[in-house]
């Protein structure tokens, strides 16, 4: 598969050419290969002027991550809700950005000198906002899921191709140095898992109340209707309604199903799924979904199970589990949940320890995740774990696998490397970690789950389905 990359760098252009051959010809025409015209007078650290469309929760997460990146100047924010717009504007001004607020994104695009736009609006607006920004000559970073419809996602890829502007989709794990290290060094170069046969992934959350809003910040219904929303409840809880979003499999599952494709380097050939609106009475989308994919890799079929449950947090939060003949890898954005489990018959791993690729059992963080943000205090905990008084062996089970650790952790906000990759793409033609074509393939993979739930049978993918 790919050549090795250093843990701290995004995937190389060569890797993407290699992966592209497996993911379909469309990737080869990706705009990330287009040499983006550098902003006038650019140098290595040329400041980039950025606009943000969508200043809600996710928009502010991206703002806080981008504020850590040098030479990024926010010039405009846009949101139809006064509360969000004011929030984004004041947050940026607090950090010294001379930012102008807009209610209408068209006015923002036409009246502000911007190099790039970050789109963090509800999914159903991604295509409209992204296409408009690309056609206005801006590079675009758009949150996942790329769109709540395949056609919407396709229009974004086409606009990117037509304009030659970069389009990065916000599957941020692809820029996480730990994920890159695992994929490129451990799975592809060293083949630590042997033959991968199965996948498992989940994102389970406890029940939660719908989002509310203070009466003083209510948007008049006539205005909401003009912007396409039925009422304030749907505006605040858009993720649960079919007009605006793809439901939990899109909000949560998309991150991890994208990683299935990315780790394996192939798209699935089929999916079957079950799910339903089992608990919430005032939501449209399925609150619980379970799906099974088939991935036809060059080494044989890989079966992948994924569940997203929004009625229980049981099962250990969120992770992706890659299982092979010689080992299993449990991956998560949370380092605490990341482990390598070696099968007894696997070749010795000590050489990989000596090479610094993995760490011996017990060498990693066994407690909470290490401080991974610069504003966290760095002192290590002063505690020890007492040895168990007795050990019990159940002879009916295979012996427990030894748990090894991965020595690469992210020391930044989780979205920061992905934004850095995008900005580096603009400045230095660095290949994007998730260009539009690959975001499209992930959107097709994810949205098919909802179709399968409704159809109550296995659905197949044709290779052409993943080509925008």
């Amino acid at each position: 598969m790919s050549d090795s990359t250093t843990p701290s760098n995004p995937t190389t252009r060569r890797d993407f050419l290699s992966a592209g051959a497996k993911l379909g010809a469309a990737v080869m025409a990706s705009p990330y290969l287009v040499r983006a015209a550098a902003p006038a007078g650019t140098g290595g650290t040329q400041s980039l002027n950025i606009g943000l469309i969508g200043c809600g929760e996710q928009g502010r997460v991206l703002l806080n991550a981008a504020l850590k990146i040098p030479d990024i100047r926010f010039k405009a924010v846009c949101d139809i809700w006064d509360y969000n717009r004011s929030y984004g504007e004041k947050l940026l001004k607090k950090y010294g950005h001379d930012v102008k607020p807009f209610e209408d994104y068209r006015e923002m695009l036409s009246s502000t000198e911007l190099d790039a736009v970050i789109v963090a609006t509800p999914d159903w607006l991604h295509a409209e906002h992204t296409v408009a920004a690309l056609k206005a000559g801006k590079h675009v970073y758009c949150e996942k899921l790329m769109s709540n419809t395949v056609e919407g996602a396709r229009s974004m890829v086409k606009a990117s191709r037509e304009t030659g502007k970069l389009l990065q989709i916000g599957h941020q794990r692809r820029s996480n140095p730990r994920y890159i290290h695992v994929r490129d060094r451990l799975l592809r170069e060293k083949k630590l898992l042997g033959r991968i046969t199965n996948l498992n992934g989940q994102w389970n959350r406890a029940v939660s109340a719908d989002l509310g809003w203070p009466e003083r910040f209510t948007i008049p219904e006539s205005k909401l209707n003009a912007f396409g929303y039925a009422n304030m409840h749907e505006f605040r809880n858009w993720r649960w309604f079919k007009k605006y979003a793809g439901g939990p499999i899109s909000d949560l599952g998309a991150h991890q199903i994208d990683i299935f494709n990315w780790m394996l380097g192939v798209n699935p050939s089929s999916v079957m799924a079950g799910g339903g609106a089992d608990y919430y009475k005032n939501h449209e989308w399925y609150d619980n979904v379970m799906a099974i994919y088939e991935f036809p890799t060059s080494e044989g079929m890989v079966r992948g199970f994924y569940e997203v449950l929004t009625t229980t947090s049981a099962g250990g939060g969120y992770h992706e589990y890659f299982m092979g003949t010689e080992a299993a890898l449990k991956m998560s954005e949370n380092p605490k949940y990341t482990k390598l489990y070696r099968e007894a018959q696997a070749p010795a791993w000590e050489p990989y320890v000596e090479q610094g690729l993995i760490k011996k059992p017990g060498a990693g963080e066994e407690g909470a995740a290490p401080a991974s943000k610069p504003w966290e205090k760095e002192e290590k905990p002063k505690f020890t774990v007492a040895a168990p008084r007795t050990s019990v062996v159940d002879v009916r089970e295979t012996a427990a696998l030894s748990a090894w650790d991965i020595p690469v952790t992210l020391d930044k906000a989780i979205h920061q490397p992905h934004l850095e990759n995008f900005f580096s793409g603009i400045r230095h033609n660095t290949p994007l970690s998730c260009p539009g074509e690959q975001g499209f393939a992930s959107a097709v993979t994810v949205l098919k789950v909802n179709e399968a739930v409704a159809a109550r049978r296995m659905l197949t993918f044709a290779p052409g389905d993943f080509v925008a």
């Binding site: 994102w203 959350r205 939660s208 909470a368």
Partner: protein
Amino acid sequence: MNTRSLFLVITACACAWPLSAQDKVPLNLELPKPLFVGTPRPIQLPNLEKPRSGPRPVLMVPAGTVLLSKGKTVTASDGFPVIGELAYVTDGEKTGADGTFVEFGPGVQWVQIDLGAPATISAIVVWHFHAQARVYHDVVVMVSDDPEFKKGVKTLFNNDTDNSSGAGAGKDPAYIETNEGRLIDAQGAKGRYVRLLSAGNTTDELNHYVEVEVFGKP
């Protein structure tokens, strides 16, 4: 008089018995609903307290204790909040949703409540931001009669272990925000002003307050 009749008389007397100033009563708090959104992120800090099993112990306070802070004037080190208004700190709205919290800039920031007159304080409850499991750094709670907090300062809570905020080093634990808020036993401290410090949190560098409640006697 049979046993049952005697019991009823004693019970009736006890119920009618006036509470003296020395009597202690449970401090009853009105808690907002839990608001955790998303998957909690494990947090590692050197002084993070262990999760409590069971309900929070009831704090006994002198009879006659009342909420002193509702609607009282709030000032802050950051006069231009990112979002929200200073008045939100004492407005009684504790849901924690958008539009109910005030967000201050990065670094060490404080808010201060003017109770209007010196008071004997029994308890302080602070909700920084309970929509996410996060920890605020260097939480310090002080009372004083001096609005500048230069003299007569009594520190009621301090988990700034390294004095990075400049209010002195403290030994109280760091804690995860929940809908219960942080209940601080003020033990009858006297003062007109209550000042609370923080220095960002484990999610971002910013400082938030949903509500602060000060209980005591005027």
